[in-house]
């Protein structure tokens, strides 16, 4: 579309500002994590590795990190299995009931976090699930489920079901057809669902704040406690480590995908 040069310049400037606004808070933690003083002032002063050291040696931080890893790994697997099964079920149902059930399964995305949190907390108090791994896994799985459902449903939508029929007409049973034809084709959707589920659980904070106890904290809960209690720059070090880890994961995934795409005709 034709644009006047002036319009173009203004548009570019506005977008640059928006881009900075989006990205800046992500990067602020990096310099902060090398601060010499025990304060969260920006710009930071001096240079030291002490906050990274603190993250790896202070049991408060390392144990909450391990808890998060544990919970998120189980959640990723559980949510992917449940979500994939459900996506298949919905895909093969009549449109009416399928739409209704799909909406029902997406509700965890729109229910306000605090409302869900007090509800789950109330039930967990009665069933002694507060501060347990099982409690975290159950709550996070239901929050991660919609993301798996969306990812797998999307890949099922482009999946040509005649391929399954072809496999069946060649004598493959339902399970064999699924394993050899369907599964490889929807695997990318399942993998991205798995990643989303892991990230959702690893980052979940509102429900976690309610169902946590002093003996079992996840990383976001520890970060929140640290921000509200003291201005401990370890938080910035944790943020930087997470940023680095995510960048490596995403970068690696993109490279792999690009490689695969190039490899294929």
């Amino acid at each position: 579309m034709e644009m006047k040069p002036l319009t173009r310049v203004i548009l570019g400037l506005v977008c640059l500002l928006v881009a900075i606004w989006l990205v800046a808070p992500t990067l602020v933690v990096v310099p902060m994590s090398f601060n010499e003083n025990k304060s969260l002032a920006f710009p930071p002063q001096g240079f030291s590795w002490q906050w990274y050291q603190n993250f790896f040696t202070n049991p408060d931080w390392s144990s909450s990190f391990l808890n998060s890893l544990k919970v998120a790994s189980v959640v990723a697997v559980l949510a992917t299995v449940l979500g994939t099964l459900a996506a298949f079920g919905l895909d093969r149902m009549k449109a009416g009931p399928a739409n209704l059930l799909r909406m029902l399964m997406l509700t965890p995305m729109v229910v306000p976090g605090v409302v869900l949190a007090i509800g789950i907390y109330a039930v967990y108090l009665d069933t002694h699930l507060v501060g347990t791994l099982l409690g975290f896994v159950l709550a996070h799985t239901i929050l991660a489920l919609p993301f798996v459902l969306i990812a797998v449903s999307a890949s099922l939508e482009v999946f040509d079901r005649r391929l399954e029929t072809a496999a069946a007409s060649l004598g493959a049973g339902a399970l064999t057809a699924f394993r050899t034809v369907t599964l490889p084709l929807i695997l990318p959707g399942m993998l991205s669902g798995l990643l989303f589920a892991f990230a959702t659980s690893f980052d979940e904070i509102v429900v976690s704040l309610f169902i946590t106890n002093p003996y079992l904290k996840t990383l976001p809960v520890q970060i929140f406690a640290s921000i509200t209690r003291d201005a401990d720059p370890t938080v910035a070090a944790v943020g930087t480590i997470l940023l680095l880890a995510t960048t490596i994961l995403i970068g690696g995934g993109m490279l792999l995908l690009g490689h695969e795409r190039k490899g294929r005709p």
Binding site: V14, L90, L101, I118, I120, A122, V235
Partner: protein
């Protein structure tokens, strides 16, 4: 769908699916009922039964001016966040459709990078950036605006929340704008419309479904925000979520907290229900054009 297709030689497997679909969704549904359905039901019941049966908690909620102030403030802040998001997202999403693939990749990355960092950590960044001795206040002071408080104010909360929610506005807007046929604009211009006229009579109406979709998602998510107002806000920017948390965790008033939660929940679902038909008809209109 497949149930209506004519019978094929593989009919036995097909017939097998007829009862299986529901069975496949059952595990997810059971977990949903146990971890979402039952807790929400508990909250509704508690709001009606504690300390005794009746509507007392709702009478209390709508009778206390402070609660109504917070409710109104929750709506006001969410509305401001939505407005800021629309204003910032519109040109950004438009630029995404107008540039080459390389620049577009950079623009997409800028939208996705916030997702790479934990929400709590991002809010921490805003606490640092917005504090009285922070960078933004220093810049403002250098520019001659002295004594502007950002942290522990509604402005600060809106800035932090809008940054978190902006991607939810940009992405649906982009997907709608991507589908707009730019030849329509060229046609309008060839018929003598100036670029601005072509934009307002052709492009803007066609992009409205994206604005609606994004605005409703942002508004609903903003209503339920908890972490950002808790860390960036002060007593004068308390939102409903914080009030719920205080009633339940600090005051152990499950009935009152529950009633507030139900108000928040019902508001969210009413908005969703109101939005659904509007969005659907807008999409259909856009499709017809």
């Amino acid at each position: 769908m497949s149930a209506h297709e004519p019978t094929t030689p593989s009919a036995p497997t097909r017939a097998g699916w007829a009862w299986r679909p529901f069975a496949l969704t059952l595990p997810a549904l059971v977990l949903l009922a146990a971890v979402i359905g039952y807790p929400l039901l508990t909250i509704v019941l508690r709001s009606l039964s504690e300390p005794q049966w009746g509507a007392q908690n709702y009478v209390w909620f709508f009778g206390a001016p402070i609660n109504l102030t917070v409710l109104q403030r929750t709506f006001t802040i969410s509305a401001w966040v939505t407005i800021v998001c629309v204003i910032c997202a519109y040109p950004y999403a438009y630029l995404m459709t107008a540039v080459g693939p390389r620049v577009r990749l950079v623009l997409v990355l800028c939208v996705l990078i916030p997702f790479w960092v934990s929400g709590v950590v991002r809010t921490l960044s805003w606490v640092i950036l917005l504090q009285d001795s922070g960078v933004i206040n220093s810049l403002l002071r250098a520019a001659g605006f002295d004594g502007i408080r950002l942290i522990r104010t509604q402005t600060g909360v809106v800035i932090g929340m809008a940054q978190v929610l902006l991607p939810f506005m940009i992405l649906p807007l982009y997907s709608v704008m991507k589908g707009i046929d730019l030849r329509l604009m060229r046609a309008a211009q060839s018929l003598g419309a100036r670029p601005s006229r072509a934009f307002f009579t052709v492009y803007l109406p066609l992009s409205l479904p994206g604005v609606y979709a994004g605005a409703i998602i942002v508004f609903i998510l903003a209503l339920g925000f908890y972490i950002t107002p808790a860390l960036l806000g002060g007593p004068r920017s308390t939102m409903l979520s914080t009030l719920v948390q205080t009633q339940v965790l600090s005051l152990l008033q499950w009935g009152r907290g529950g009633a507030m939660g139900v108000v928040l929940l019902v508001t969210t679902f009413v908005l969703l229900a109101l939005a659904a038909p509007v969005m659907r008809s807008r999409y259909r209109e856009a499709g017809r054009n």
